[in-house]
């Protein structure tokens, strides 16, 4: 009784089902068209070099800290917020990690939680500002972008802090050596166990994506995030503590920025007081290219992952092909536009509708032009 409204009106139920299945299969692949194109371009132009494990590791590793930021950013964007301060939070966290290493000589497994805590506190501040003080997220995080950067610079006295601390013997101290595993190029985890080992930034990024996607799709919290972004009033009346959800996503976003901080410091083998500047644009771009809507309620971590890959591999492919940088800027912009248009779910559906109509009637519906 309930589900048959559509099949009843459609002339050929079976044919429609077949069609629909094909379309939905294509549709589920369609979110990756942009990525596929970039990959294809890379393989065609640079084949083995592009596909080599080390190249892909390098490419993803370079973007990993921004990719992790993008995951947090996606959470915030899903609640219809935005966090511009992620870059500054990452910068401060990376500075904190380097200072803990250099000044306190702490081991990495202490530094990491400390940085995450530090990031979470900053994110909490953002969350409180947007909920209790009811400041637009854009304004609140624009302000904290500046505040956190100021703290970062004040803390470091504008001097970058190298993480490759040498002991009295001229060799790296134990902690500094293990700190390199956070992402200094050429330092891998589990070397020997898994071939050439695993590059931590890539691992961390993938793990964060998997955990984030599971949390969003499988838990109550995930549903609440979507609900708050989709219709805040409805969410509240449905028993969602909307303030708490918003504070939680901002805090998580900060926590992830804190998590990414040491990676950035290790990748650069130093914490720069300007580290992370304008990373927020990359993070937002990854989320949005991956299909997140800034109006909230739409998007996914998988999408963000794809968006991040598109950004970084595009960069890699253009770099491998030694395209001049000015042209790169132009090409990248154009490709982003093309990718977003191609990935739109209704594009294929619109095309399929058209094909179906043509197939059914032998001619497109000529009455009424479109749009």
């Amino acid at each position: 009784m309930t589900g048959d409204a559509t099949t009843a009106t459609a002339e050929g139920p079976t044919r429609l089902v077949g069609w629909r299945r094909a379309v939905s299969l294509l549709g589920s692949l369609q979110g990756y068209i942009g990525l596929v194109l970039v990959l294809a371009f890379g393989i065609v132009t640079r084949g083995g070099t592009f596909l080599s494990q080390s190249n892909l590791t390098n490419a993803v590793g370079a973007f990993a800290s921004r990719g992790i930021l993008a995951v947090g950013e996606t959470l915030v964007i899903l609640t219809a917020g935005i966090d511009l301060s992620v870059g500054s939070m990452l910068g401060l966290a990376s500075m904190v990690s380097a200072m803990l290493l250099v000044n306190q000589n702490l081991p990495p497994w202490v530094i990491l939680p400390a940085c995450m805590l530090c990031g979470a506190v900053m994110g909490l501040a953002n969350g409180i500002g947007t909920t209790w003080l009811r400041i637009q997220p854009f304004v609140m995080t624009l302000a904290t972008l500046s505040v956190f950067r100021g703290i970062d610079r004040q803390l470091s006295d504008n001097v970058s802090v190298g993480t490759q601390v040498a002991g009295a013997d001229g060799k790296l101290t134990g902690n500094a050596d293990s700190f390199q595993l956070f992402g200094t190029p050429g330092h891998n985890l589990f070397t020997g166990v898994v071939g050439a080992g695993v590059y931590y930034p890539v691992l961390a990024f993938v793990v964060v994506c998997v955990v984030g996607q599971l949390a969003l799709s499988q838990t109550r919290f995930g549903r609440h995030v979507y609900a708050v972004g989709g219709n805040e009033a409805a969410a509240r009346l449905s028993g969602v503590n909307t303030d708490r959800v918003k504070i939680a996503v901002f805090t998580l976003c900060g926590l992830l920025a804190g998590f990414a901080g040491p990676i950035d410091a290790a990748y650069s083998a130093s914490a720069d007081p300007l580290a992370g500047t304008s990373y927020e644009l990359d993070a937002i771009a990854a989320a949005v290219i991956g299909g997140a809507s800034l109006a909230g309620g739409r998007g996914s971590i998988v999408g963000t992952f794809v968006g991040a890959l598109i950004l970084t591999l595009l960069d890699n492919v253009l770099g491998l092909n030694a395209v001049s940088d000015n042209l790169q800027l132009i090409i990248k912009g154009c490709i982003v536009v093309v990718a977003v248009v191609l990935q739109r779910p209704d594009l294929l559906r619109g095309a399929a509708d058209f094909v179906r109509r043509v197939a059914r009637r032998g001619a497109p519906a000529s009455t009424g032009r479109s749009s």
Binding site: R153, G162, P185, S268, S270, G319, A322, D325
Partner: protein
């Protein structure tokens, strides 16, 4: 230091070499000039191709992945102008491990695993500017200092050099200093604020020429450009650069911070043909004064080669 065989060259064949250059920021006037010069000098070597210059756009992370990409491409030699010393260290090491000769320009890296370093000395650049200031203010006076991005190493070195030099005259006092981020419009705004504050400034030392020119603009807007002196650094021979400004009397002096392009090209060529090169070359800082400005401009003008 290198045994790069031409057959492994990406795109190179039959004794032809491919060289890549990773620049920290193409759109900085000094570096744009360096790029032009390097392209000019590299053209002289017929068996060497310089790939389009890669621009890290002031991002160390970008630069690291650029260097890695060049290593992937197996170029025959690599020139790097590091955005920052520490971050590039690992990437340069990777290049070195891949047996690619690396020439470091201007800013050092924290490893010995490179083939040659060519650069100027920022401390000396600051110091010479300080010495000029001492000469310009024999009776002492107040100085304003416009700094580049505070955490940039050249800023730190030039600042130190300048301060060390002006100690020669205890009556010279650096009364104000602020970060103008190497940018002309920030320098204009900040100098305008100093003048509005009623600061009496006899001299403004700017760590690059655009900032010096910005300060000059602000002073001329307040009608004080005649009673103040301006010192810049970079000394580019472009219409918009410091040498021309010295010629026109806007700056009291500037310093040609060497682009190292000619030496870099020579060194790379030598490395590719397995000749010995000096591990470390430090180039002189040449002062530009109203007396020699015209000559300097002619000597360093590369516009005809663009």
């Amino acid at each position: 230091a290198s045994t790069a065989s031409p057959t492994t060259g990406g795109g190179g064949s039959g004794g032809h070499f491919v060289v890549a250059y990773s620049q920290s920021n193409n759109a900085e006037p000094y570096r744009a000039q360096l790029n032009i010069q390097l392209q000019y000098f590299m053209k002289k070597y017929k068996d060497v191709t310089l790939l389009p210059i890669a621009d890290a756009k002031q991002s160390s992370a970008t630069q690291v992945s650029q260097v890695q990409q060049f290593v992937q491409r197996k170029v025959n030699a690599l020139i790097v102008s590091p955005n920052e010393p520490a971050p590039l260290t690992a990437a340069v090491k990777q290049a070195c491990q891949a047996k690619i000769p690396v020439v470091i320009l201007d800013r050092s890296v924290n490893t010995d695993c490179y083939s040659a370093f060519i650069g100027g000395d920022n401390y000396v650049a600051g110091k010479k500017a300080g010495e000029l200031a001492v000469k310009l203010l024999p009776n002492g006076g107040t100085v304003g200092e416009l700094q580049g991005i505070l955490s940039d190493q050249p800023q730190i070195d030039r600042d130190r050099g300048f301060r060390d030099a002006v100690k020669a005259n205890p009556k010279i006092r650096i009364s104000v200093h602020r970060e103008a981020k190497w940018l002309k419009d920030d320098a204009t705004r900040i100098t305008g604020q100093w003048l509005a504050q009623g600061q009496h400034l006899d001299l403004v030392y700017a760590q690059n020429d655009p900032m010096a020119l910005g300060a000059y603009l602000a002073a001329s807007s307040a009608g004080k450009e005649k009673s103040m002196k301006f010192i810049g650094t970079d000394g580019l021979a472009i219409p918009d650069g410091g040498i021309r400004a010295v010629q026109q009397g806007q700056l009291a002096g500037t310093f040609i911070y060497p682009t190292c392009a000619k030496q870099a090209a020579e060194t790379v060529n030598a490395l590719l043909h397995h000749r010995k090169v000096a591990k470390k070359t430090t180039l002189d800082i040449v002062a530009v004064t109203p007396d020699n400005a015209a000559q300097m401009y002619r000597d360093n003008d590369f516009s005809k080669f663009r």
